[in-house]
């Protein structure tokens, strides 16, 4: 049984529940469903909005590659990744990963793996707009994120 991941890059908001429902609809072999939702924080009231730039085409292609790796590595029954672009305000959703499997460990690990590699490999960039009106700045990549992604290489 070949499982295909669903990958979408869109400006519109998404519904975690509706993506989860799609992965379980009509099935009775899914025992575990893990969702990760990434939201925009206001950084203690200083952030007015994030502006998410992406490389159209490559963003989808790279997310597809990461999702395919996850499908090879864990016995999943389904996998969905949705990433937004454009202006996103504090409290709004940015990214969603849902992994479904017969067993919980596979679902947890696949969702965790997907987020780690998405952060370091998917071509998206965040620019911060501040409440104070000070000049917008590009978010710097975190060394932590590279370290998180490297966890999966040794194991």
């Amino acid at each position: 049984m070949v499982v295909e991941a669903t990958v979408r890059v869109q400006a519109e908001d998404f519904s975690a529940q509706s993506e989860m429902d799609t992965l379980t609809a009509g099935r009775r072999d899914v025992g575990a469903l893990v969702s990760f939702t990434g939201l925009c924080r206001d950084e203690a009231g200083t952030l007015a909005a994030l502006e998410l730039e992406h490389y159209p085409g490559m963003a989808e292609a790279e997310l597809d590659r990461i999702a395919s790796d996850a499908l090879k590595r864990w016995p999943l029954t389904g996998l969905t990744v949705v990433h937004r672009y454009g202006k996103i305000r504090p409290g709004e959703q940015i990214v969603l990963v849902v992994a479904a499997s017969a067993h919980r460990r596979a679902a947890f690990e696949a969702a965790d793996f997907l987020m780690d590699f998405l952060k370091t490999r998917a071509p998206f960039w965040k620019k911060e707009h501040f409440v104070s009106g000070k000049a917008e700045t590009w978010v710097a990549a975190k060394a932590d994120d590279d370290a998180d992604a490297e966890r999966w290489i040794a194991s």
Partner: protein, 83 residues
């Protein structure tokens, strides 16, 4: 070759995309960066800290020593900060 820029690389270069004729001496990504830096001050500024900049050829990540081969598009951008 079609060249695309994203995030602060795009802002420094001043354009999103440009088509560039490459001399035959340009074989690798590193050669391409060297060539782009000679175009003008904006390009030189964008590639000032060239170790930081990431590259994709036809929408696949590659390293600086990768050969351009018959790639149609090269893209330059800072480390990714999605998610």
């Amino acid at each position: 070759m079609n060249i695309r820029y994203f995030a602060w690389v795009r802002e420094r270069v001043g354009v999103e995309e440009e088509a560039i004729e490459l001399p035959s001496s340009v074989v690798t990504v590193a050669d391409l960066i060297g060539h782009l830096k000679t175009i003008d001050d904006n390009h030189a500024f964008a590639f000032e800290d060239e170790e930081t900049i990431r590259v994709a050829l036809d929408q696949m990540h590659v390293e600086a020593d990768a050969e351009l081969g018959d790639a149609k598009e090269a893209a330059f951008f800072p480390p990714m900060t999605g998610g």
